[in-house]
């Protein structure tokens, strides 16, 4: 794999002010992403996993300049261009939009019900002015639709007539039609049953190799991530808590949260019922996170220092970083 870095985020933070809460006093703030450093190698299939609400979607969107960045920098360099996303100008941003795409988490919300599938897929081309004639647009749409195994008859229909999995292929076709370099796939196979999921994942992998794409693949399905990603980062409450080459992460998880995730994967054996390791303790609020390590309220190994100081992400092995005060002690 080439070692060129496509996305390089430093001290990246995204904060949201919330409605609700108290009428007087400051509005609560959610630190959806806080102080994240992230390198995504060009051509990699980079997995991002973590608790619901931990900031995965927000981080993915920030990498596309589609979330309000409060602090930090993101560099995008694909060998042809180099942009710093927080200071990027309009013209560059327009170009960046053709080079990066998002495949949505919710295929129901993502597709406009009043457009035919053909028009949905063609829209990015038309909005960005990437084609010069209707024939050319049609040609591009047909080409990408075939890649995503949608047929001509599908193109004339409206999205409501499709089931979740079929819609997800439409979203994928739409994301690919501008021939981007970088794709953020947010829970793109969560709605799919396993045999189609295998098919779509094989498809994404194929497309990635063929077109040399880089994927940021957001998922909470660890077995899927294990099979398709070459590197995995784990988030908890806005922070990166562990990052490692896939094999390493699954064979030697070092953060207690990663360990808990791996042990909670539902087993296919009905006799394993009730044997899944469960986490005790309070799930912290993103508006009022605990001091110290954000995982301390649920961590079976938390001690005083964990409740006081926030651990930094440190090198623990080749390509393997972990943010835990006790990772060395907990090696066994």
């Amino acid at each position: 794999m080439s070692q060129q870095v496509l996305i390089k985020a430093r001290d990246l933070s995204v904060h949201y002010a919330l409605s609700g809460g108290k009428i007087f006093g400051p509005k609560p703030v959610v630190k959806a992403v806080e102080g994240v450093n992230l390198d995504i190698a060009k051509g990699s299939f980079f997995g991002l996993v973590g608790e619901s609400g931990s900031g995965k979607t927000t981080l993915g969107r920030a990498c596309l300049k589609a979330a309000p960045i409060s602090r930090g920098t993101i560099e995008f360099s694909d060998g042809e261009v180099q942009y710093e996303l927080t200071t990027i100008d309009k013209k560059q941003l327009k170009d960046f939009r053709t080079r990066s795409q998002l495949i949505f988490q919710d295929p129901y919300a993502a597709l406009s019900p009043r457009m035919t599938v053909r028009d949905i897929i063609a829209e990015p081309l038309e909005v960005m002015g990437l084609t010069s004639s209707r024939e050319e647009t049609d040609e591009r749409v047909r080409e990408v639709a075939a890649k995503c195994r949608l047929n001509l008859e599908h193109l004339r229909r409206f999205p409501h007539a499709f089931s979740g999995g079929q819609r997800q292929r439409i979203s994928i076709a739409r994301a690919l039609v501008s021939r981007p370099q970088f794709i953020v796939a947010d829970e793109s196979v969560a709605a799919l049953d396993v045999s189609i999921q295998a098919d779509v994942l094989n498809l994404l992998k194929e497309i990635q190799l063929e077109m040399g794409l880089t994927f940021l693949f957001i998922s909470h399905d660890l077995s899927v991530v294990a099979h398709v990603c070459d590197h995995v980062a784990v988030m908890y409450l806005g922070r990166l808590v562990e990052s490692a080459p896939t094999r390493q992460l699954f064979s030697q998880p070092r953060h207690p949260y990663t360990k808990a995730l791996l042990s909670a994967i539902p087993s296919l054996d009905p006799d394993d019922r009730g044997k899944m390791q469960k986490l005790e303790g309070e799930i912290p609020s993103p508006t009022n996170p605990p001091p110290g390590c954000k995982f301390q309220t649920r961590c079976p190994h938390a001690i005083d220092i964990c409740r006081r100081d926030e651990p930094k992400l440190v090198h623990s092995a080749e390509g393997h970083e972990v943010a835990c005060h006790r990772w060395q002690e907990l090696l066994n």
């Binding site: 409605s19 919710d106 899927v224």
Partner: protein, 332 residues
């Protein structure tokens, strides 16, 4: 055991621009009070529309077959769902005796009303609780599904929540009315496995506490193995196999069920390729004659599978399969 639901010969067709399609074809199953039935199958196989039929929730282009019979057994006596015409009559089942967790979380929350107001409104319609009690219960339910700081979240709008929180809020709303029957359509796809385990525990608690019955639609066979009592497998509108979870997962009979199990990414061998079931699910406009799976079946027996619809063969008292491989002639 007490019978909660009888679905007999459910057939459902939709009028579409291209003609009438069959989405559900002669499906029958039963559910006891306190029982969890998993419903699995390929995307587009008709799981969601089957579930919605139990509440007569399909849009106006839907046509139910004349043989279709759906009976819900309540304490007050059996309710013949198909005979309910007015939305006033249907109120009894929608959101009252039956709750549904929809596959599309965004669609189930009105964008301009806070999560809390919607929960309270629903409780006030379907129970005799007052406003104050409704609010308390709503917040308590948000807490039980693992939403931290529930009183703040209560005052927020759906778009302010992460995908998984939205899903949990929907689960809280669906469970708060203590329905007799819960239809959960992919309820945990957006959750990390540690939270998923917690939500599933909550559902199981309610099953024991109130004898609630659940139809649990998911493509995660691990979740089924850990949660459901029995499982039904759908393909292109037909139920191809039904049985106790242990039997179906340990000794799957239908070639489609076998294919689904083989497509699961295994954590034991990360290098193993993902095996999709070959071929594409046919369009509902071109449903294959005979066995609906024959165009993709690796055990296809030839002419018979393409011509004759297989009837159910009983493999054991509670395990049956609709496949010619198991018909009497084939066994002989």
């Amino acid at each position: 055991m007490t019978r909660l639901l009888d679905v007999e010969n459910l057939t459902l067709q939709f009028d579409t621009d291209e003609g009438r399609i069959t989405a559900v074809d002669n499906v029958s199953f039963t559910l006891e009070a306190g029982e969890i039935m998993g419903l699995v199958g390929e995307s587009g196989s008709g799981k969601s529309v089957t579930a919605k039929s139990v509440m007569k929730l399909n849009p106006s282009n839907a046509h139910y077959g004349p043989e279709t019979k759906i009976i819900l057994h309540l304490d007050s006596g059996p309710v013949d769902i198909m005979s309910l015409q007015q939305s006033k009559d249907l109120q009894v089942v929608r959101g009252g005796a039956i709750s549904m967790i929809f596959q599309e979380p965004m669609a189930s929350f009105a964008p301009a009303i806070t999560i809390g107001d919607q929960m309270v409104e629903q409780l006030m319609i379907h129970t005799d609780m007052g406003k104050k009690r409704s609010k308390e219960l709503s917040i308590e339910m948000l807490d039980r599904v693992g939403i931290s700081d529930p009183s703040t979240r209560f005052g927020q709008y759906a778009f302010e929540l992460s995908g998984g929180m939205r899903q949990r809020a929907m689960i809280a709303m669906a469970l708060s009315t203590k329905p007799k029957l819960l239809i959960a359509d992919e309820p945990t796809t957006a959750l990390d496995v540690t939270i998923q385990a917690q939500v599933i525990d909550l559902m199981k608690d309610l099953v024991t506490e109130f004898g609630m019955g659940i139809i649990f639609i998911t493509h995660d066979l691990g979740v089924i193995a850990q949660t459901a009592d029995k499982v039904a497998v759908m393909y292109l509108g037909r139920l191809v196999e039904q049985g106790l979870v242990r039997d179906v997962i340990r000794t799957p009979a239908h070639p489609y069920t076998k294919g689904l199990l083989a497509a699961l990414p295994s954590l034991d061998d990360l290098d193993a390729p993902l095996v999709a079931i070959p071929g594409d699910i046919p369009s509902p406009l071109e449903r294959p004659g005979g066995c609906v799976f024959n165009t993709r079946c690796s055990d296809n027996l030839g002419a018979r599978c393409g011509a004759e619809v297989p009837t159910e063969s009983l493999l054991s008292s509670q395990h049956n399969v609709a496949c010619h491989l198991y018909s009497e002639e084939a066994i002989k």
